[in-house]
């Protein structure tokens, strides 16, 4: 992975997130506390402002720096989770000799794994993990199966979309929505939506290049 690509991804994510502002905001208002968009925006804005500093660094160090910055910038539930994701991803990339789609898929999976650990959470709890876990699986499986880039990206996007939609009918057992019991049913999780939007944006970026 190139640091230049990471910086492009940050920009793509920023645009995508802003395009979904009111959707993400109203999802967190419905079964959360309404700040999820603001939290992500704060994170993305801060990282975007680090462009110069980051561009001089190798990709794994840049990801580690991003993770630490997010940790001290976002707060809330999503802050430590996103931070863990990037820090874990950075660790895996650093240990890899050679970079390939397979190592990136493994790093992504390790990032997701560290979210599970930090959040003491798993699939089916109406969180961002209902997007991230299936995406990690699809990513690995498609790479193993030797799918070409367009097929890989299409599969990941579909998996993210499906995961996001799956949260609608779930009872929440983690995050703020867990406090709502039955009342959370019928609403998509804000973190699942924002994760899907970000993943989709990165896929679209890759499709262009």
């Amino acid at each position: 992975m190139k640091t230049e690509f990471i910086l492009q991804a940050v920009d793509a994510i920023s645009i995508a997130i802003h395009a979904h502002e009111s959707e993400i905001e109203s999802l967190d208002r419905a079964i959360g506390d309404g700040d999820h968009f603001i939290n992500i925006k704060r994170g993305v804005t801060t990282i975007a402002a680090m462009r110069e500093e980051l561009s001089a660094l190798p990709a794994d160090v840049a990801l580690q720096r991003i993770g630490m910055k997010l940790l001290s910038t976002i707060g809330g539930a999503s802050g430590p989770l996103f931070a863990s994701f990037f820090i874990a991803m950075s660790k895996t990339l650093k240990t890899q000799q050679e970079e390939s789609l397979a190592t990136i898929a493994a790093a992504f999976a390790d990032g997701v794994e560290s979210i599970k650990q930090r959040g003491k959470s798993d699939l089916g709890e109406k969180t961002m993990l209902d997007v991230l876990i299936p995406v990690a699986q699809t990513f690995r499986q498609q790479v193993e199966a030797g799918a070409d880039m367009p097929a890989l990206l299409t599969a990941i996007k579909a998996s993210a979309e499906q995961g996001m939609l799956s949260t609608r009918d779930m009872l929440a057992t983690k995050g703020r929505a867990a406090f709502l019991g039955e009342r959370a049913i019928g609403h998509i999780d804000a973190g699942a939506k924002s994760s899907q939007v970000m993943i989709s944006a990165v896929c679209d970026l890759l499709a262009q290049t």
Binding site: E25, D33, I38, S72, G76, L81, G119, T173, L180
Partner: protein
Amino acid sequence: MKIFVNDVENLLVESLSGFAAAHGDLVSLNLDPHFLTRAHKAKNKVALISGGGSGHEPLHTGFIGHGMLDAACPGHVFTSPTPDQMMAAAEAVECGKGVLFIVKNYAGDVMNFEMAAEMISCEHATVLTSDDVAVENSTYTTGRRGVAGTVIVEKVVGSLAETGADLAHCKALGERVNQRTASMGVALSSCTVPAAGRPTFDIGDNELEMGVGIHGEPGRRREAMRPADDIVNDLVTAILHDLKPVEGSEVLLMINGFGATPLMQLYMLYHSASKLLAAHGLTVARSLVGNYTTALDMAGASVTVCVLDDEIKQHWDSPVQTAALRWGR
């Protein structure tokens, strides 16, 4: 919803600066990372640190001072603070007997404090507050929300820490107070997060949200407005169902305003709740009425009952010198 604001991005820092300036005798402010400590560092005691999203003022900054907290870490509005804040605060106030974090039980707060705890080198422990009975406990979930009862935990443990008690004792008392404390709230209107600029929830002119959270989260159910005594009866019933206090117990009754409900109303609710508790054979031995754990500009209030014992009562009564709670000397 209109608010006083220059630039919404600077609101928190301007407000913290004002707070620190108005209470320079009590607190001192650090920016980047944001935390407040006592103006005069205490010695030879467990350092008590709390924190959480802003918008609940006076919680927690208003409770820094002799007999309560050593430091508080304010996050953005309704957003948990970040680990670097807690680490820097711990560094600033730890004085040899360890750090006790008092954390309201929300995923964000729990995780951020947890990460700070993992990274600091001194002895530390955490009390999670979870007094909100609006959300029934379930083994599948992360448990209940921490709300206004947190003030009682901070006051009582704050007093114990002042005696030089060790970390284990402070943690144990905090957990006992939390177990003996239950709260439930009701909203008549929504709050508005300044950066969002619109109400968190919509509510009809004749509706109330029973069991609302202190961030405007939905509670047990949306209901039609009813007489105050009926509403209070539901709150007190849910609380007593959870606490199951022995008849004849002494209790502390707290009526907490969420921000936009006048004091006149809060005292009326106190009147209503105290009659009900008496009818249940309980003695209201201590009281607290006012805006102590707010939700910005939300209209509504919560009832909190803490079943006292001698140790808790003694530490409730002991002197406290903070911006928002002050008695004794």
